[in-house]
Symmetry: C2
């Protein structure tokens, strides 16, 4: 009545479940060719495939990883989910998916994942998560011996295993690009400042300014979320401060800037140069294709899965933090200033 079990196969052939098991798993054992064939035939006929729950119970291998992201509507995370899922599938792992919607539900997700015996938890922390929540995630995971691999978002602790892109460098590259083209009044819209990602990108922005001996002006910095609305809401005030360029620390923020800029009758890049962050596919298809810092999501995905599935070795030998380099992808949303052109 239920689905075919190993016992059904064993009965069909007239052998023990042991024999079926070793044959199906190609273990080196002394089983006659005839028996083997009979078992394969019966398994095929009965459409037998092992119940992975039972397999996991005894082998202690679930072939499952958990993936927690804060916002799947953000194309960066959508792509990350895709890459990680594909990469895991390649290694015959399935992915349990959690999305916190940027609420501090990380602990719940980690709990649920542990209860389901995942072999690793890939965690992109939500923006609003408290330090105490993070600590709880780690203590739960430690106790259960499940590794956590942080992705993208960083936590200040040397023992944490983490795959991410150098956000400081990204902010630096974006800002330097604007400076090289003559811009000096450059605004910056950040994500939430309680997130390390936001901070690092801002620090990169500041470093570039300093390198070009431009005084950092805090009033040119706006803080929000990594969302379209943030760009839309903050741009007008910043523009009033006589800026010629703006660094949006996510592409979604840049989209909001575009929107507001067009509403204000501005032209991009003539009236305002914009650099984004994430290098979403859509950037190419904006009226002024958006110059943006690329995170190379595929590389992140491949690395994070590699770390997740070989945690022990990685933990022992490699550095615990894999830091990838971002790149600036230049499109058409930035223009040299008049002075520079002369």
């Amino acid at each position: 009545m239920g689905r075919t079990t190993i016992r059904d196969v064993a009965n069909q052939v007239g052998v023990s479940t042991t024999t079926v098991s070793v044959v199906m798993n190609q273990k080196k054992h002394h089983i006659s060719k005839e028996t083997q064939e009979a078992i394969f035939k019966a398994a095929k006929k009965l459409n037998y495939r092992p119940n992975q729950l039972a397999v996991s119970m005894v082998t202690k291998k679930s072939n499952t990883i958990a993936l927690v992201v804060p916002d799947i509507l953000n194309p960066f995370f959508a792509e990350l989910v895709n890459c990680i899922g594909n990469e895991a599938a390649k290694h015959n792992y399935t992915t349990i998916f959690y999305c916190t919607n940027d609420q501090p539900l990380d602990v719940e997700c980690v709990k649920s994942a542990i209860d389901r015996n995942v072999e690793a938890i890939i965690l992109a922390l939500s923006n609003n998560v408290q330090k105490s929540n993070i600590d709880e995630c780690y203590s739960l995971a430690d106790e259960a011996h499940v590794p956590i691999i942080l992705v993208d978002r960083y936590v200040d602790s040397c023992d944490v295993v983490c795959v991410r892109v150098d956000h400081e460098l990204g902010g630096y590259l974006a800002t330097k690009h604007l400076l090289e083209l003559g811009h000096r009044q450059i605004a910056c819209i950040t994500g939430p400042m309680n997130s390390d990602v936001s901070k690092q990108r801002l620090f990169g922005y500041i470093r570039a300014l300093q390198e070009y001996r431009v005084l950092f002006d805090p009033t040119l910095v706006g803080e929000g979320m990594f969302q379209v609305e943030t760009g839309y809401n903050l741009f007008e005030d910043l523009y009033a401060r006589n800026i010629s360029a703006i660094f949006a620390s996510s592409d979604t923020i840049a989209y909001g800037i575009y929107k507001k800029a067009y509403e204000m009758g501005l032209s991009i890049p003539k009236d305002i140069s914009v650099v984004g962050y994430d290098n979403n596919t859509y950037n190419d298809f904006l009226p002024a294709p958006l110059t943006s810092v690329s995170q190379n999501v595929k590389m992140i995905g491949a690395n994070v899965v590699k770390v997740a599935l070989n945690y022990e070795e990685v933990y022992k030998t490699d550095s615990h933090q894999i830091l990838l380099k971002p790149e600036l992808v230049v499109r058409k949303s930035v223009m040299a200033t008049e002075q520079e052109k002369e």
Copy 2:
């Protein structure tokens, strides 16, 4: 050394695992208050949480559903994944996530899901899937007594349980909107014609034309994928046919149209009116906010999870096909023709 088991708790308190189990699960049983408290205390102290694999084995309830989508980079599916995940989490279900990347891997996903004892499979078929693959999915699932709920994409069989939006109506609404504003030369870019979704939207387009006694002109129809590139590549030729409006059967296609139109120096909606499909969040932030057919993804998600978790009842009582109505969201990408304005 391993994680805390029910036995650890039982030993700590000095009772049997039975007692711990019934207490933890709040079963009506004759267990003294003191014992109960001791068990709760020990469980808390040892940080005990039941191994869901073991629980699933014996209860035959995995509290897990599988979700298969063809393309998570498409915002429609990203939102769908989000809604379904949230809705499932509300009911204390976790989601195993599969993305086929529009390759015909549906069968593999279904197999993997079944092997992991999911209680239902929510399946958004990939575009390029063969009828035979679909049949195989169903026969595998039937055998394992796992329900499949089709979402969005439709298969012509009355026994199939399916939650989707009326794509024919959507195509009709989009086209009718253009017709009402005086447009007569209206192009249409479809998704792949082997997908029912594409067909239905096209049929709606044709029905609206007929209602307005406009002759259907096949040369005004372009076929591609539901992707930006399709709009970008097909628009120029269609525009050469003297059209005043175009119905893009996905927003992503419309983005491609925008891109090409801007490159051609056209203005939207002055030179060309555009209607999209999916009502992505980004539509609001395009230079000309895109009028689009809304699928109400939240509603789809809520319905599909409801069906998934109450399959038996739904299957018995309700119609097997839940058909939701799309709505047209009017923004600023469509303009009345000169004739109409007079």
